[in-house]
Symmetry: C2
Subunit: 336 residues, 2 copies
């Protein structure tokens, strides 16, 4: 490429756009569907249930301990499909580039996307690149939309949870948010906190394979555990009671949250999910989670209750209860 | 809503994000699949061929004569599916908002998206909203990915075009680009030039309904007619010869291009497509195009030839020939 930075002309739809796609994206993402570089990818779909999702990624900084915006974009969309019980198959990729971005950084992100997609058996089948002037973006933003094949006959979601259901999480809370904030603010933690950013279809597949009746799943991203549980309580009309002592939180994350004035319940993960299942199936589900690399720290953290409806309660270590509120949202901008 | 502008907290994944979605997007886009606000939309798909596409929109300004970024995002993705012979059914919507954007502008864009989607029978089934700080975006950027059902048994694309094929366009060249540049630069043209931004599935459906053998279609966006034809010539290895005198170009657009130093062949449309079909089918296809509101100015502009391969030639009004180059891409940033 003639220059080492992104130019406005790379977004003009002409020769330079073609060059950028052929030299940066195709080598990293190569697959037959994408290679045609046509207006749309053609897919052969079997009859049945499918899931379709989208997410845009604006994380700052682009690279952080444990991941980068590309890994995040692939994991985030895989996880949104996985928690609906759908096997991720195809992803689209929309890229907004800021004029002046180092092509080396773009290549690094493209390779991160390509290698993870390959490892997870998903194909980036269609894409688009735009370029905006300096100061109209922050390096690069990504959008991934994804299509997955439903692997469970039951609809998963808030409407399916029942009083008595166990509430499980697959990993430590808040790692991603703390890792990103640490890098952004220049504060280092000891030991270093890495993002938990990970693709969770394998874990979900193992859980579904137990035959346990899964009622709902959600990956914990913006809003953290509090955001996800408050949303489930609101949507289902039921209460959720979680125990402070059972929450898996790293000491370094707890310390960082104290320092930054954050509640770890509100801090984002990117490779962690919450599962609701009937009490009789909990042991099998927990065992399957713990046997998977991304679920080694899985734990039962609480249960669904009839009352108080639409409310999440945290039972403290000394037996007190406090209401967990839906975060307002201003603490953690651009975490994903 | 408590304020009349977008706040960073609207992107935090908490209460304000929920409020933004419930108060701005849901009323405008309402449909049952979206209403669940879950991680992914569930779709029932019939067996067969499907098309999947994505585009990000960063047009500046957000509102221009004949359209806005929302209309553009819906049309662009509908058109990418349509030119593959696929009936657009479902769209995802990814939104990046700049802190400080007027909520009234966001509402206007959401309503534009919603009303066009409704009119075209496509549903926005899943979405995502992010907010970035002032100076990290330009009002708002949109991404739409789309899924459509193939309505033609033949694969459409550069590999299917043949020497002798007629080349048709459905409308005037360059209207969109000139309308956007006019608004951006503050130059007004007389008569005013409006964007041709339009959803083309209806036109394509009518063309396919003729039973004519369509070999390939492409909507003319970034890079204009020159970009599309050069790409077809390169990909197919064939030549394309077009006649200057047959190109439908408005007088005002020609004048504006002279003024701005642009070649109308390179200027974007957003509601115009090029069709390749065998000479025997041209009359029927042209008639179907002309009978449709978005094809009233359709014209046969040239043909595919064996030699010179990989080359687009423009035959001038006095019989001279010049090579049409793939635009470099620096003339027209942020046109879509």
């Amino acid at each position: 490429m003639s220059d080492d930075r992104v130019l406005l002309a790379h977004g003009g739809g002409g020769r330079l756009t073609k060059q950028l796609i052929e030299q940066v994206f195709l080598p990293a993402l190569s697959n037959p569907a994408l290679a045609s570089l046509d207006d749309a990818a053609l897919l052969k779909l079997e009859p049945g249930g499918w899931a379709f999702t989208t997410d845009t990624y604006v994380v700052s900084p682009l690279f952080f301990p444990g991941g980068d915006i590309g890994k995040l974009a692939v994991c985030g969309t895989i996880n949104d499909l996985a928690v609906k019980g759908a096997r991720p198959l195809w992803l689209s990729l929309g890229v907004v580039l800021e004029e002046g971005l180092l092509l080396a950084d773009l290549r690094r992100v493209a390779e991160s996307i390509g290698s993870l997609a390959k490892a997870e058996g998903v194909a980036i089948v269609t894409g688009d690149t735009k370029v905006v002037e300096r100061g109209r973006c922050d390096g690069l933003y990504l959008n991934t939309a994804g299509i997955g094949r439903l692997a469970t006959p039951l609809p998963l979601g808030p409407a399916s949870i029942r009083p008595g259901d166990a509430v499980l999480v697959s990993g430590h809370l808040g790692d991603h948010g703390v890792a990103v904030l640490g890098r952004r603010t220049g504060i280092s933690f000891s030991p270093e906190v890495s993002s938990d950013c990970a693709p969770l279809w394998g874990l979900v597949d193992a859980v579904l394979g137990t035959g346990g009746r899964i009622h709902a799943m959600r990956d914990l991203t913006r809003g953290g555990l509090a955001g996800a549980l408050c949303d489930f309580a609101q949507s289902s009309g039921l209460g959720i009671r979680i125990s402070e002592g059972k929450l898996p939180i790293r000491k370094a994350v707890r310390g960082a949250c104290d320092l930054l004035g954050l509640d770890p319940l509100n801090v984002a993960n990117e490779g962690n999910l919450v599962i609701f299942c009937p009490p009789g199936d909990t042991a099998g589900v927990l065992k399957a989670m713990k046997s998977h690399p991304y679920g080694a720290s899985a734990a039962v953290i609480g249960e669904v209750c009839e009352e108080p409806g639409k409310t999440v309660l945290l039972v403290s270590n000394i037996g007190g209860e406090r209401i967990v509120d839906m975060p307002v949202g201003e603490d953690l901008p651009r975490i994903c």
